[in-house]
Structure formats: structure tokens, C-alpha cells
Symmetry: C2
Subunit: 151 residues, 2 copies
DNA sequence: TTGATAATGAAAACCATTTCCAACTATTGA
DNA sequence: TCAATAGTTGGAAATGGTTTTCATTATCAA
């Protein structure tokens, strides 16, 4: 095992090999504090290792999402965005505030205590009523950001 | 004014013409109680009026979303889904429970009282802190449905 | 080493959505 | 009534993010 990052073990536990490309992609994701598109990651990885192709980025992201190491978001802007999952990130549990005009996405960590209370109650109730095993949720607020209001 | 549907007025208030195609599309949307893709709507509309093209479906849906008559959802399954907005639908305020395996989407209206309490507080707080004008929110729960668990 | 299996890059395919454009339709004002 | 104007339309083509294909290469266990 090359590195002993927290994600490395989990990834290998799934039977996947921790290759140079895959580590480079995870490196980019953990050094970023925003949401990255596949192309963003491709360009960043490329500067250190130009041999890595875009196909590998997509394939790796699929595995990382499947293993729960990264979270994939569709904000409705035509391309998926990725970020390290809560468990592997230095970011806290957060949700998203999205400007409908300029498409800016803000991470916010406010009101998480109140949220947790509501989410927990809803999850338990929905699991009982609909028989789902719920393991994830998404909350997005949509509006117009201050820059777009005045601009 | 051909019909006096609640949406007709709003649509024309925006300066758009209420054409046969557009009414046909709205008719399909209001007779459905699930989320429809552009192609779903195209096929349904086609049975009554084969002259209406897919391009018109997309164009009309864009206008309807812009005027707030329909809501557009990206569940992450490759195609957008549409449903009549709360104000024009006979459905109540609801959110979505999504199976990660079979991609089934369940509308639920449970825990809306508790939700409203949390959402209102968060909206006000976020508007103050980040200066956004928030007018919409989305809550999705992801998990595995009972059929996919046993199947 | 060796052989089996997994991972890779480049090019091509895919496919939902958008764009273009020429024809058509509704509205307006002489 | 009749243009002139502006809005709407369908089909074909283009777009662009993502996935598939396939031949080659890297990894790992024996
Ligand atoms: Mn985020
Ligand atoms: Mn719904
Ligand atoms: Zn903005
Ligand atoms: Zn299912």
C-alpha cells in the first residue's frame, strides 16, 4: 500500500487497486475546497501527469462514488460536480445555496443542529412507512445571490 | 383566451401566446401524477397531435419552468423530469424518496409541518447571512427501496 | 517469471438537449 | 381588409458531457 490515507483502505477493501492515477485524482479532490467537475479534475491531474486521460477520471469518479469516498452532485448546470465525502473531508456536514442566475454554489454549515433533528425524524418515519433503507439526503436552496441582485 | 385554466392567465401575463401545442403539453402534465421526461410528454402529446415536435416540447418546458408553472428536477438519471408546480397542481407540497438501485422516485408528503419549521428558520437565516433571495428548496432522500432489498 | 486479471488512453459512440433556419401563425395598425 | 411585424414552429444539424469499445499496459499472486 503506497500511502496510508484514510480512503486508501476503504478503496482497496472493495477490491480495487490503488493506482497512481487514482491517487492523483484523490489528491486533487482533497486539496480542493470547492466542487470539481470531471474536466476540472482532469486539468489539475494533467499538470502533474499528462498521461492520465479523461476516461480514467470518469471511471475513477464512478468507483469513488460507488465506494462512498466522493459525493456526486447534479446542480442542473449540465455537468456533474464532485467533492470528497463528509467522512473523508475536512469539511463538516453541509448543504448548498445555489444562485439561479450566475450558478454560484455556496456551501453552508448553518442550522445543522436543527436540520439533524428534522432529518432524523423524517428518515425514521420514511423508512417505516415506505420500507426504504435511507442512507443519504440532499438539501438545496435556490435563489438569487447578492451580486446578481445588484448587478 | 381559449381556456381559463389557472395557468393560462399566468402564462399570458408573461407575454407568451397560449398555443395549441402549449395547451396540449400542459394538458398532459396536469393529467399525470408522476414526473415526466420531455420524451414522455412528447409521446403523450403525439397521440393526439402528431404534428407537434420534440423541439417544441423542450422550448415550452423551458418557458413553463421560467414562469413557475412547472418544476424541473434532475434526479441524476440522465434526463430531466417535470411536474406541475405546487401552485397549479392538485398535489400538496412534497419531496422525493429515490431508490439508488431501480431509480424509482416516490413523492411523500409526510413530516411537512416539521419540515416547514426547519426550512423557514434556515431560509431566513441564510438570507440574512449570505444575502440570497431564496425562493425554492429541494429535499431528496436516497436509499434502497423494499423491492430492491429483497429482489 | 509467469499467467490471470484489472486498469488504461484514444477514438468512437451515445444521447439528452440546444441551436439554426426557413416556413408558418397570430396580432397589430393602417 | 390587408400588409407589416413579431412570435412560434418542426426538422435537421450541432453540441457537449459522459460512456463504450478495444487493443495495450500495469498490477498482483503464485
Ligand atoms: Mn458542497
Ligand atoms: Mn414530485
Ligand atoms: Zn448569482
Ligand atoms: Zn429500487
Amino acid at each position: 500500500m503506497r500511502h496510508c490515507h484514510k480512503w486508501g483502505q476503504k478503496f482497496q477493501d472493495y477490491g480495487f487497486r490503488l493506482t497512481v492515477s487514482r491517487e492523483a485524482i484523490l489528491e486533487v479532490l482533497s486539496n480542493s475546497n470547492t466542487h470539481l467537475s470531471a474536466e476540472d479534475i482532469y486539468l489539475a491531474v494533467h499538470s502533474g501527469n499528462p498521461a492520465i486521460g479523461l476516461t480514467t477520471i470518469y471511471r475513477t469518479l464512478e468507483l469513488l462514488e460507488h465506494t462512498g469516498i466522493v459525493s456526486k452532485f447534479e446542480f442542473g448546470h449540465g455537468r456533474a460536480k464532485y467533492e470528497l465525502a463528509e467522512e473523508f473531508s475536512n469539511k463538516k456536514h453541509h448543504h448548498h445555496l445555489i444562485c439561479k442566475k450566475c450558478r454560484k454554489v455556496i456551501d453552508y454549515e448553518d442550522f445543522i443542529t436543527e436540520e439533524k433533528e428534522y432529518i432524523t425524524k423524517a428518515e425514521i418515519g420514511l423508512q417505516n412507512k415506505y420500507g426504504f433503507d435511507i442512507d443519504n439526503h440532499i438539501i438545496h436552496f435556490y435563489g438569487i445571490c447578492p451580486e446578481c441582485k445588484t448587478g
